[in-house]
Symmetry: C2
Subunit: 125 residues, 2 copies
DNA sequence: CCGGATCCTCATGGATACTG
DNA sequence: CAGTATCCATGAGGATCCGG
């Protein structure tokens, strides 16, 4: 660990690869990023997220939120009232992840057109 | 393209979300990131990648490389010799993606410990 | 309103064998 | 060496119904 390969980010060895894979399994599923983006800096209720993230099902929203909560990326607060009300919000860790996801979005935005072009060329043999 | 939405990265609306999903479908599969990392700044032969990326199967390596080539992320060059020899390398676009992936790795590295901790706490109810 | 429990489908990807 | 072809297990995730 005290390897300190000179500085900053170095290479892609074993450990680093598995770290990346972990993160990808975290945000690589179908709904995590969507939910995280919807929670951007505000707190939202379950049905609110459900509507905003259509066509997600309640089942998947629930599962996604639990996963995110488990990893300390969102908080879940239950207000006992009638009707029941549950609020979700990003933790600081969740927000930091959001910023990384935005970096991804930036890359996607810059390269989307080129990729579409490459695909067309490739598919035309 | 010359859109220039005032500045920088804005928010997570519909379009942006689907862009992110596209990128995640690209690198979210089981082997793309591994292969991209192995191709880091050098060119590699098929079997070389196969060995380095164990336990990938030839089938998946082939499929992964084809996908990456289709998106213009790697180049495939065939030298007709005996025995046959095929070289793979990152394109500039592929390298730019690699740097984004490294950002992901950085986040993972900084938060891995905290996430493990959160999970333990959560699983203990 | 906020989910949990079940059932079922379908794509990802592993194993294996064969080819130029 | 550099793949392709085939078959098959597994699990993510959609649909639906039920409960607090």
């Amino acid at each position: 660990m005290s390897q300190a390969t000179s500085e900053a980010i170095e290479l892609c060895e074993e450990d680093r690869l598995s770290l990346i894979r972990d993160v990808l399994e975290r945000i690589g599923d179908k709904w995590s990023v969507v939910v995280i983006c919807q929670l951007d800096d505000t707190t939202r209720r379950f049905n609110e997220l459900s509507r905003m993230s259509k066509p997600i099902t309640k089942r998947m929203l629930s599962a996604t939120l639990q996963g995110l909560e488990r990893d300390g990326l969102v908080t879940r607060t239950v207000h006992d009232a009638k009707p029941p009300r549950v609020d979700y919000a990003l933790t600081p860790r969740g927000m930091s992840l959001l910023s990384v996801v935005r970096a991804l979005a930036g890359w996607a935005e810059n390269n989307a057109a080129g990729i579409v072009e490459s695909r067309a060329a490739y598919d035309a043999r």
